[in-house]
């Protein structure tokens, strides 16, 4: 590397975004819809990523005694997800609910990168309410 190039100007932003993904969750009759808003220039590794390397998006429900999750399907294909993306996760209740809604917690664990930085595995927990009308196994 030539001397003049070592500290050459680049397009780097000075302060890295260490929290580049905003999550939200909504409940539909047969699916959870997980929405990821991924900051510009960042990528999230897809739950269906087949190649070794950074961990793919992992999704689990903390109330596994009540809810069974199916295989997640992202609206985008490929090993990485960018921009606004939605992941549908089919679910079934393992038993009939009582009269009150059930609060459940979906945990996502993931790694993300931009061209300039990569972040370590991160875990976030999202909350949703299931209604007695939701389908039972």
């Amino acid at each position: 590397m030539r001397l003049s190039l070592i500290f050459a100007a680049t397009l780097y932003a000075f302060a890295p975004n260490l929290n580049p993904i905003a999550w939200s969750l909504r409940v539909e009759p047969t699916h959870f819809k997980l929405h990821a808003s991924i900051a510009q220039d960042y990528k999230l590794f897809s739950p269906t990523k087949s190649t070794p390397g950074p961990i793919p998006l992992q999704i689990r429900v903390l109330e596994a005694a009540w809810v069974k999750l199916g295989k997640p399907v992202a609206t985008q294909t490929g090993d990485t997800l960018t921009g606004e993306t939605e992941i549908a996760i089919p679910y079934r209740l393992r038993r009939k609910l009582g009269p009150d809604p059930l609060t459940i917690h979906i945990e996502v664990r993931y790694q993300s990168c931009s061209d300039q930085i990569c972040l370590p595995p991160t875990t976030r927990t999202l909350e949703a309410k299931l209604l007695p009308a939701n389908p039972v196994l």
């Binding site: 680049t10 890295p16 390397g53 950074p54 990168c113 300039q116 930085i117 990569c118 370590p120």
Partner: protein, 230 residues
């Protein structure tokens, strides 16, 4: 004549510790590895003696293990995040003299921060290191800095890995001054610190350097640094 003589004298260089937190599993890291290699070899700032260390962290060991990574180095980076009040850790990250940080491939910002660090005077530090009977006999001495922690890193000068899995699969990564062991050898007390230690030889052949530095454990600031290449 006098003026000419003064001009022809080499400018004294202030030692600055440049730590790169990196990982072989991190796709964004190779440009930072190249930057740190260039900084080490070219020494591009005339008033600075840039002493570099590549510190491999473990949190990218998801599909294959980075043979240079250690929990101790991951914890060192986490410690910096706390001291420098950074939201979290990431790779590649440069820490300049324990005081300033920027993304590892960001040359212009690294230069700005090195120039900032150069404003702080540093006392002179002496280091000698020799291989004796499978150990590295290291002597470190300096005046003052009472209360600060004295550390010694043993680092492989140049290391190369052909990566088979993950984001860097297929690439041959070249690393400079890869930390293979980091020892705390004492705390500065009184007027002068002068200590000799026999450090165990890490599993490297003969291509290494010994870097000693004095760090303020409350602020993370590097108060003195010196290296000996063997």
């Amino acid at each position: 004549m006098l003026g000419l003589c003064l001009c022809s004298q080499a400018q004294p260089r202030t030692p600055i510790l440049v730590e790169l937190f990196t990982a072989e599993g991190c796709g964004a890291c190779p440009p930072a590895d190249e930057l740190i290699t260039a900084i080490d070899q070219i020494q591009p700032i005339p008033t600075a003696n840039l002493i570099v260390l590549s510190e491999h962290v473990t949190y990218w060991d998801t599909s294959s293990r980075d043979r240079f990574a250690s929990t101790a180095l991951t914890n060192r980076q986490l410690g910096y995040a706390k001291l420098l009040k950074i939201e979290g850790v990431y790779t590649p990250q440069l820490i300049i003299d324990g005081q300033y940080e920027c993304t590892g491939g960001n040359g212009p910002e690294a230069k700005r921060l090195i120039l900032e660090a150069l404003k702080q005077p540093k006392p002179q530090m002496e280091i000698t290191a020799n291989r004796i009977n499978g150990k590295i006999k290291t002597n470190v001495s300096f005046f003052g800095l009472s209360g600060a922690t004295v550390l010694v890193a043993i680092a492989e000068n140049l290391a190369e890995t052909k990566v088979s899995k993950g984001e860097n699969a297929g690439k041959t990564l070249k690393h400079t001054a890869v930390v293979r062991a980091l020892h705390t050898i004492g705390t500065a007390e009184g007027l002068r610190f002068d200590t000799t230690v026999d450090l165990p030889m890490p599993p490297i052949v003969d291509n290494f350097r010994v870097v000693a530095f004095v760090q303020d454990s409350k602020t993370g600031r590097i108060l003195a640094v010196a290296q000996s290449k063997l």
